[in-house]
């Protein structure tokens, strides 16, 4: 009996299971450690002024002010980029599903979306910069929005596509059988049915957009003012973190940690919010 209980394969089984638990613990712990590090170092420097004021003169040498310019700038950039990406990705996702299906061209489009999704943001940034030089646009909110929308487009379409693919075929066929055109199916049936998915996709893309630094580095510029026009440069939170850490003053570096905490909080709210919204909206879809 004992030999059977502790036969070699059972030991292996237990060993492998142990490795899996350790790996899982490792992944969960790294999330915990990251959040803990950012909170512990960021919270002491996080003051009310940080989120309500723009940098005053000498801010980067430790004088008064906050990063309101970067917070607003990031919201503008990510908001604009997401809106623009949505404008293109909704038609693409609908066209892929209702018109293309699993055709060859549809497969090419999906492949190219996957490839675009993998292109690093620094390459988008460099490409955006050459584009700006070509059309004579300077570092501005508009340029940043355009580059972010390119970055977010594949994320959004892919997320939507995943949801549409899981939609019951019967629904679409029922609508077609009643005489709807494909456009009507797309707008009145598919869009409604995938609303939770669309919301998730939007928030996912927004979260990616607001946290990305490499793409806005050359395209959106950096300024201490809150942008008043699309053609003005704008600050962004990731770059605010980066620049404040690059200064030699400990006081400013601490504010960099606080800015990282602000960014983390925004991203976590977006991420948790998308779960909450999609579970709420899921009630109104046909299962």
């Amino acid at each position: 009996m004992i030999t059977k209980r502790w036969s070699r394969r059972r030991i292996t089984e237990a060993f492998v299971k142990g490795m899996m638990f350790i790996s899982l613990a490792l992944v969960a712990a790294s999330l915990g450690v990251i959040l803990w590090t950012v909170i512990i170092r960021g919270l002491p420097a996080l003051t009310w002024d940080m989120v309500t004021q723009t940098p005053k003169g000498g801010y980067y040498m430790g004088k008064a002010g906050g990063v309101l310019n970067a917070i607003i700038g990031s919201l503008y950039l990510a908001g604009g980029g997401t809106a623009m990406a949505l404008l293109f990705s909704l038609p693409i996702a609908l066209y892929l599903e209702t018109y293309l299906g699993d055709s060859t061209w549809g497969r090419y489009v999906r492949l190219s979306l996957d490839v675009l999704w993998g292109i690093p943001s620094i390459v988008y940034g460099a490409f955006g910069f050459t584009l700006m030089l070509a059309i004579g646009l300077r570092a501005s909110l508009l340029a940043g929005i355009i580059v972010l929308s390119l970055l977010e487009l594949p994320i959004m379409v892919r997320a939507m596509d995943e949801v549409i693919r899981r939609m019951p075929v019967d629904l679409e066929q029922a609508a077609l059988a009643l005489g709807s055109t494909k456009l009507e199916v797309a707008l009145r049936v598919v869009t409604r049915q995938m609303l939770p998915g669309i919301v998730t996709a939007i928030l996912l893309a927004f979260g990616r957009g607001i946290g990305d630094a490499a793409s806005v580095l050359f395209t959106a510029g950096y300024t201490d003012r809150i942008p008043t026009s699309l053609l003005r440069p704008t600050a962004s939170l990731p770059l605010a973190v980066f620049f404040q850490l690059a200064t030699p003053y400990p006081e400013v570096q601490r504010r960099g940690y606080a800015s990282a905490l602000i960014l983390t909080i925004i991203v976590l709210i977006v991420s948790l919010g998308s779960r909450w919204m999609s579970s709420r909206l899921n009630k109104y879809t046909v299962k």
């Binding site: 489009v109 996957d114 690093p120 460099a126 490409f127 946290g211 990731p238 980066f242 850490l245």
Partner: protein, 333 residues
Amino acid sequence: MEDRNGIFKSKSLVLAEGRLQTRPSADGRARADRNARRAFSIITMLPVLLIAVISVALIWRAWPVVGDQPLSKTIFGVAWRPEEGSFGFWPFITGTAWVTMVGMLLAVFPCIMVSLYLSEYAHTATRSLAKPVLDLLAAIPPVVYGVWGLLAIVPFVEHVLAPFAKRWLGAVPILAVNQPTGFSILAGGIVLAVMVAPFIISVLYEIFATVPDDLRHASLAVGATRWQTIRSVVIPRVLPGIVAGVVLGASRALGETIAVLMVIGNVAKVPSSVFDPAYPLPALIANNYGDMMSIPLYDAALLGAALVLLVVILFFNMASTLVLQQLLGRQWT
């Protein structure tokens, strides 16, 4: 234009009638459908076009440097002296390769283990608990990973790993400690490993889920343990997919900019140990893009760096995506 009774009407009259009718006319609906189809199909070309445009733009802008000197000198040259017009990418290419490899070596085993656990062992409750953790890990912005690396990993490498390696592993050349700081390939690799983990795990999990349950049940029914089932049924079936998922993760790691830049030291020298600093391609682009306009060919060289990155990533991506599409596509049809 004729209506159903064959009476000729002007186009504007038809349109006016269409507007008055409570139900949209069949013609109008068909027309809307056609127009939408045309508009949508044009928009759908955008992703394919975008890849082409990005590639062409980078090649075009990088050409002054790539075409100016022999390609081998550009790629394998070790001298990076922009003021003298000498642009050798080799230190940056090796730096990128080192940090990516270290990151992947650290990430691959735990990622496979976690995704196997989630797909083969875990209860639904565990799964629904693990998903938000992975989602949050994936949602944390690169710059926050960089802050974490700066505050936690760099000191950890400096005060724990480097002394340990110096004491016990000094004889191994790639573990030699040649500099006193923690800004190193290892620090970059650790940060990268954590960053790509949620991505690799979700891809692998999806791959393992494609194995039909019948096969698992058959194997378990004849008395195999779970691990035996995994080893001899699940893994052989999706091995290409596992490789593709890991390669996809590596191509993610290759392009990571800000987080790596903050912890890796940025020294333009071909590294020889994981405790050496390095200067990966993305960091090179990000650090120098502001002030390259004053030096001739500098911007072309930096866009050349972006081009090298793009070519490698396109290759990795296409290959692994094709494998994955085939593997996952079977399920969808």
